[in-house]
Symmetry: C2
């Protein structure tokens, strides 16, 4: 949805055109989305020109980090490793990324546990299906 402008700044028309390249939405629909995002103060409107431009209020990386953390909070601790392994396998990475990640792994290895405990429930339940390493 909002990914399109989180990138930079764009006029209404630019947003509509770009959005329609990937979604089968009417212009009205997109305008509504823009309005709701401004209402929610996720984007701001620059009305200094006759044709308005919209700029992001929250930076993409901040929003992304936030959502990523919220998502991981919803995942069973015991499964996070497996999940991250799969992501590392499939998502695009640059050489630098790989280097950085390796450095972190090296740092963490010493203190890493053999098994990560699941904390899904309150009365810690060892029979969690996710603890299968």
């Amino acid at each position: 949805m909002r990914i399109i402008w989180t990138k930079k700044r764009a006029t209404g028309r630019e947003i509509v055109e770009e959005a329609q390249l990937s979604h089968d939405w009417s212009a009205s629909t997109i305008k509504t989305l823009i309005r709701r995002l401004t209402d929610k103060e996720m984007i701001a409107v620059d009305k200094s020109e006759k044709v308005f431009t919209y700029v992001p209020v929250v930076a993409e990386n901040e929003a992304t980090d936030y959502n990523a953390n919220r998502f991981f909070d919803s995942v069973c601790d015991a499964y996070k490793g497996t999940l991250l392994t799969a992501l590392i396998k499939d998502e695009p990475l640059s050489k630098t990324d790989i280097q950085n990640i390796r450095a972190i792994l090296d740092e963490r290895e010493a203190s890493a546990p053999d098994q990560v405990a699941c904390h899904c429930l309150h009365e810690d339940d060892d029979s969690c299906a996710m603890v299968h390493h």
Copy 2:
């Protein structure tokens, strides 16, 4: 929400009790949630006993993988590496996870690009804020 039973199978009362440990919800609210999940066929009801038990229809790992992929699809390619690096840094990992990840990194390194291109827009826009390595 549904994390609680994705774990295994539980009776209504168990779900309500467990849910109330982490959320300030009334029993009614939780029952509604259960109903909506069954409507949506994410959990199934075993009515063979007088007290029903609820079992997951979709496995937690499948749902989690699915959501993780959907989330990553919404992230700028050029930022995925940074994001994964941060996650690797903060999320719990076992020694085995670390080993596995390292193995994958080794495999990928040769073919990894120096820079990952952003594909947020259609007319590829090089000025994407996320391309900052």
